[in-house]
Symmetry: C2
Subunit: 120 residues, 2 copies
């Protein structure tokens, strides 16, 4: 399976999903599957910002006692975003409508991360 | 009701909750209710770092099309953390065990935020 197949599978499994992407911590997307209806949202712009923040959070967590950060979510009025670490250099991002199935999104990213890791 | 009463109510309603705090974006806690069993975790240290990141996320979101960031969660192997904006200067933080009820935590913070805002 290619990256794209995994990403498409995530978007199709989660109610309200807009797009799913494999990204590097440099903010560059390896591959993205995006539903057409979400084209008006500047998701790439958002994710580049989030990648930067995720890097800082990861560094912060290393100095704390709460363990390595494995998942971060950033929720606004319109869009829910779940990010999950895949490897030290890459992470998965899933964007959902604000009324999408957030819990299912977290679950599907958790089970998809090892599959994506195996292909990196 | 005082801040403390609201915070205690949040911790008691959510399975696996460790502590709940009202914090300023300067990283200073206004009030905190913490269960004794979580004393070994350096939660205050973590929250000061998160406050800083939340400020940056809020600023990033303002320049994006996804709307104002209202909720951020940072999940590590041991601790789940949900942060919810209360006002432009303050936010609520809830820390839970990794196997705590995350969805309930999000819900209880959402309904508690307006009550805390009314007292600021």
């Amino acid at each position: 399976m290619s990256f794209r197949t995994h990403l498409e599978s995530v978007v199709n499994q989660v109610e309200g999903a807009l797009a799913c992407s494999v990204m590097g911590f440099d903010g560059i997307s390896v591959d993205t599957f995006q539903k057409d209806e979400s084209a008006e949202l500047d998701l790439n712009g958002a994710w580049v910002e989030y990648a930067n923040l995720l890097t800082q959070l990861r560094n912060a967590a290393e100095t704390l006692k709460t363990g390595t950060v494995s998942e971060v979510s950033v929720n606004s009025e319109k869009v829910l975003t779940v990010m999950r670490l895949v490897s030290p250099d890459y992470f998965l991002v899933l964007a959902l409508h604000a009324d999408g199935n957030f819990g299912k999104g977290r679950y599907v990213l958790r089970v998809t991360a090892p599959k994506v890791r195996a292909e990196l």
